[in-house]
Amino acid sequence: MNITWYIVLSSLLFATGVLGILIRRSPMVILLCLELMLNAGNLALVAFSRMVGNGQGQVFAVIVMVIAACEVVVGLGLIVAIFRRKLPLNVDDLRELRG
């Protein structure tokens, strides 16, 4: 398969993640959609690494995986904190920080 196929699939997955963030309101599903976008970026990185024939893009993908794990840990900590304070788990109701 050509590298183009992988890149087009990656942009399709990224657009799906953006769509999920736009239409869902549960913070947990929004975190899952962030994962989708990060993974689409990872696929593009690995595909370009194969295109150039150089392993450095794969190291970049591994580092992105680490960042995604950190983001998940902090995001889920926030969700647990919101749940403990008996606040609604809905991004439309959590609007105190809005100006």
């Binding site: 590298i3 657009a15 799906t16 953006v18 239409i23 947990m28 024939g53 680490v66 794990a69």
Partner: protein, 170 residues
């Protein structure tokens, strides 16, 4: 053979992604994401990056998803209300998603990268195996490697602080 495997994995990845955003129950969304991650690992293997595929399965599907399942079980599902703060959001958002996909594809395919239509250059058998990645990580990219380890430590401490019971405020 490679094309068949690619299309199976691509359909799995896309179906998993659509399942994540379409399922009402967050628990099913997490399960759909696991399918998506396994399909992506197959795609990584097709791109001859064995270490990234293994890390994908072990780190994501193994560790991160278990964390998600625990938090979903703790917080509980809960349906979303049909109330929309922005009128027409449900019809505008898919339009914006399609526009973004077309724009990304045009931006990448319209670029002057001639190598996009090839399979990539011929690589040796050691390309992308743990030894090659480890050599790159510990020699050329030592500083980002150490920085990411500090970031992981900070994230773990931050999550403990965030999720612990705070006696003064509650």
């Amino acid at each position: 053979m490679e094309a068949v495997l690619f299309f199976i994995a691509a359909i799995g990845a896309l179906g998993g992604a659509i399942g994540v955003i379409a399922m009402r129950n967050p628990f099913y969304s997490v399960l759909a994401l696991i399918i998506h991650l396994f399909s992506l690992a197959v795609l990584f293997l097709l791109l001859t990056s064995a270490f990234v595929a293994a890390a994908q399965v072990v780190v994501y599907a193994g560790a991160v998803m278990v964390l998600y399942v625990f938090v979903v079980a703790y917080v509980g599902g809960g349906g979303e209300s049909a109330w929309e703060p922005i009128p027409g959001q449900r019809f505008l958002a898919p339009l914006l998603g399609i526009v973004l996909f077309v724009e990304l594809s045009v931006a990448v395919l319209g670029s002057a990268l001639n190598a996009l239509d090839t399979h990539g250059p011929h690589v040796s058998t050691g390309f992308g195996n743990p030894a090659a990645i480890g050599r790159l990580l510990l020699e050329k990219f030592l500083l980002p490697f150490e920085a990411s380890s500090i970031l992981l430590l900070l994230a773990a401490v931050g999550a403990i602080v965030l999720a612990s019971r705070n006696k003064e405020t509650t």
